[in-house]
């Protein structure tokens, strides 16, 4: 065993520092948990930051109702193991209340509807800080995101008047009604996250590994066809393929990739050798070049 801490990865040190700043600077923080690999990594980092105490804030999942069942099962089990409170708020409730309108047509997705449910939940619980797993390497608009990103009463992001962040000083002072989105793994790349999951032997949902799935191909991407959620034309042929998911969003906006990576080691080598970026498999970003930036301004994560 090492006798000094110099072997600990600098990104982990930074993320733990950020987690502790959140707990110290805010009254009601929450960790936004999607069941995806990034938020699972956040949970591990939070565990490390406060050990031997429990994570001092709840987890919250905004459930679109279109999540992969494997993810939901995983989420419930993890929260139970940690002994941490899990809050779930449903997009379906926002639809039923007439606050948002379900999209229709072949690209219908509930992904952007999540924003309303999230903002309502922030108001309901009076959360002043929401910890999220966004990374700057994911997308061009996210490359400019701060670690502490202040949102106004409407949850909106004003990219032109962001607070400068110097050294590692994080300014969490806000006015009543404002809240802060916090991104502890801002500086991690996709490969950093996967390598960390491998090294720490963190359990992740099974859909991240290669499995046989009924799928169809549209616009060069592989869509899941194992449910009625994704709209499908009659001429779009369903075939069984060996696939896995690189990102776990909604079923309606997450494409699969062909893969035979059945273990974490194989996934890590696949990611290392692959040449398509992670968000390339996100159908929602392909809508337009500025798709992510527009959604962020409206309060999306």
């Amino acid at each position: 065993m090492s006798t000094n801490t110099s072997h600990i990865n600098p990104l982990e040190n930074e993320a733990i520092y950020i987690m502790r700043e959140v707990a110290a600077q805010f009254e009601k923080p929450v960790l936004l948990f999607s069941g995806g690999k990034d938020s699972i990594t956040l949970v591990r980092l939070a565990q490390k930051a406060f050990w031997p105490a429990k994570i001092p804030f709840p987890l919250m999942h905004i459930d679109t109702g279109h999540n992969f069942p494997e993810t939901i099962e995983f989420r419930d089990r993890l929260a139970k193991e940690l002994g941490v409170e899990l809050i779930v708020r449903n997009v379906q409730d926002s639809i039923d209340a007439g606050k948002v309108k379900e999209e229709s047509g072949r690209y219908a997705s509930r992904n952007s509807l999540q924003t309303t449910t999230l903002l309502d939940a922030i108001e309901e619980f009076k959360f002043d800080a929401c910890i999220g797993g966004a990374r700057r390497d994911e997308e061009k608009a996210r490359a400019k995101e701060r670690i502490f990103s202040v949102r106004d009463d409407f949850g909106q992001w004003d990219e032109k008047s962001q607070r400068p962040e110097l050294f590692d000083m994080l300014n969490g002072d806000i006015e009543l009604g404002q809240n802060v989105r916090v991104f502890p793994i801002s500086n991690w790349t996709e490969l950093d996250v996967w390598s960390y999951i491998q090294k720490e032997e963190i359990e992740i949902p099974s859909i991240y590994f290669a499995h046989k799935r009924k799928t169809f191909v549209r616009d060069g991407m592989i869509w899941s066809a194992e449910d009625d959620i994704v709209f499908r034309d009659a001429e779009e042929i369903v075939e069984e393929r060996l696939v896995r998911f690189r990102t776990v969003g909604d079923m309606s906006c997450t494409a699969a990739v062909l893969s035979d990576a059945v273990s974490i080691d194989k996934v890590v080598s696949e990611i290392r050798d692959s040449s398509i970026s992670e968000r390339g498999a996100r159908i929602d970003d392909k809508r337009s070049e500025a798709a992510m930036e527009k959604r962020k301004q409206q309060g999306y994560f």
């Binding site: 065993m1 006798t3 000094n4 801490t5 110099s6 072997h7 600990i8 600098p10 990104l11 040190n13 520092y17 502790r20 700043e21 110290a24 490390k48 930051a49 406060f50 050990w51 031997p52 105490a53 429990k54 700057r136 390497d137 061009k140 608009a141 490359a143 400019k144 990219e159 032109k160 607070r163 400068p164 962040e165 110097l166 050294f167 590692d168 000083m169 300014n171 002072d173 006015e175 801002s186 500086n187 790349t189 950093d192 390598s195 960390y196 491998q198 090294k199 273990s263 974490i264 080691d265 890590v268 080598s269 692959s274 040449s275 398509i276 970026s277 390339g280 070049e289 500025a290 930036e293």
Partner: protein, 426 residues
């Protein structure tokens, strides 16, 4: 579970680099070129660049499209905020803070340089050292960025002329004679970002240059040597009290170690109480260690039950920082509301916040080495000045030149909570 390759994959070295250049110096192209030549651009990103370059009618690949993120920037063709770009080699992970170079965005440059150990200053070979170059150098020197690469770009447009390169080098050396931080390492490299000369790969175009390429130089940098080392400082972020059966009396002080290392058994002093104790245990997660290395996030327990809370600082006995209710600092002002003498602000020094009053604005410092301006009654956006603050309670600081972390602070506006300035204690 087998853990093949995990050792190499978790990079222990992360080098942060700030970039500075004026509009059209080719900064975005340089970064795009680095990403392209290190094969860091993914096929879908490359496709998007090819598609857009074609639409715009270019006969080359416009690598600047790899970094210019926001819609406004694409419309105006300029970079308006700090963007972070990631790539890695077999040796190191790199984070580039892409900061804009126009006069009005000094604040972004200060921000980018504050977290960087290295900087790349771009000069257009056709224009040479211009007023902007002075500013870029001044700020990186003020922020004590250890390694500076002066990349003389667009060499292809001056026929790869050695004379042009030497003339620029000699003009820049004149600037160096005015610098305050003399131990800064400066390396000149002639490049063409567009053609890829001396960025990642060597070139035949300039046989007169035998030095390293930009990437070769960065790869060789020893991270321990380029980070500023001082004496150990442990600002307490959070007190961990689990109050569970197994850890009934556990009182752990969570924080990050800056400057040097701390060891179990060290006699330490807690500030501000100045109470002495010894380090009993050092934890990182559930594992105990003998030594807490520099920049690691740990939890420390002490032999004695002493009162320590967030904002306090644990230091080694005989190695105390300055404890004072006032200090003088060089500050970079970042807000459109002016800083005025007599105004109250919150100063955040590490994780510690105190109320402060501007006691005196001594003078403005022109960031282009053209001297100082006295009798100033207010500071505007992007002004740099020497200012004395008085505090409502003492803080524990070092001079910035001795301790980059414990010698810096940010200024927060009490009206809107915005970060409006950054300071470097004298």
């Amino acid at each position: 579970m087998p853990r093949a390759n995990s050792q190499q994959l978790i990079k222990m070295e992360v080098l942060k680099i700030a970039t500075a250049g004026s509009v059209d110096d080719g900064k975005s192209t340089l970064i795009g070129r680095i990403l392209y030549d290190t094969k860091s651009l993914t096929s879908d990103k490359l496709e998007a660049i090819e598609k857009t370059s074609k639409q715009k009618g270019y006969d080359y690949l416009d690598f600047s499209l790899a970094t210019d993120g926001l819609v406004a920037e694409r419309e105006q063709g300029i970079t308006i905020d700090v963007a972070h770009i990631y790539f890695s080699t077999a040796k190191k992970s790199y984070i580039i803070a892409d900061t804009p170079g126009h006069v009005e965005y000094t604040r972004n440059m200060v921000t980018g340089a504050s977290t960087s150990q290295a900087a790349i200053i771009l000069i257009d070979a056709r224009k040479g050292v211009i007023e902007q170059t002075n500013r870029h150098f001044f700020i990186n020197n003020l922020l004590r960025v250890k390694e500076v690469i002066v990349a003389i770009n667009k060499m292809d447009l001056v026929d790869y002329s050695e004379e042009t390169y030497n003339a620029i080098k000699s003009d820049f050396s004149e600037l160096m004679s005015k610098r305050d931080y003399e131990n800064q390492n400066i390396t000149f490299i002639p490049v063409s970002a567009l053609k890829g000369d001396n960025v990642v790969n060597k070139t035949d175009a300039m046989p007169w240059y035998n030095g390293e390429t930009i990437l070769e130089h960065l790869e060789r940098l020893d991270l321990a040597a380029v980070s500023n080392v001082g004496t150990p400082r442990f600002p307490v972020q959070y007190v961990i009290r689990p109050k569970t059966e197994d850890f009934h009396d556990f009182r752990g002080f969570a924080g990050k170690v800056y400057g040097g290392e701390l060891n179990v058994g060290d006699t330490v002093v807690a500030l501000p109480s100045q109470t002495k104790s010894k380090i009993k245990e050092i934890y990182a997660y559930d594992k105990k260690y003998q030594t807490a290395s520099r920049r690691s996030s740990v939890t420390i327990t002490l032999e004695d039950e002493i009162n320590v809370s967030r904002g306090d600082m644990i230091v080694k006995e005989g190695d105390l920082p300055t404890i004072d209710k006032q200090f003088t600092a060089t500050i970079a002002w970042m807000d459109s509301d002016q800083l005025k003498a007599g105004t109250k602000y919150v100063i955040q020094h590490g994780v510690n916040k105190v109320l402060a009053k501007v006691d005196k604005i001594h003078h403005k410092i022109n960031p282009d080495y053209s001297g100082i301006e006295e009798n100033v009654d207010g500071l505007g956006m992007n002004d740099i000045a020497k200012v004395t603050f008085k505090l409502n309670k003492p803080i524990f600081f070092d001079a910035f030149k001795n301790h980059r972390t414990n010698g810096s602070f940010i200024v927060i506006d009490t009206k809107n909570n915005n970060t409006v300035g950054a300071g470097f204690i004298q």
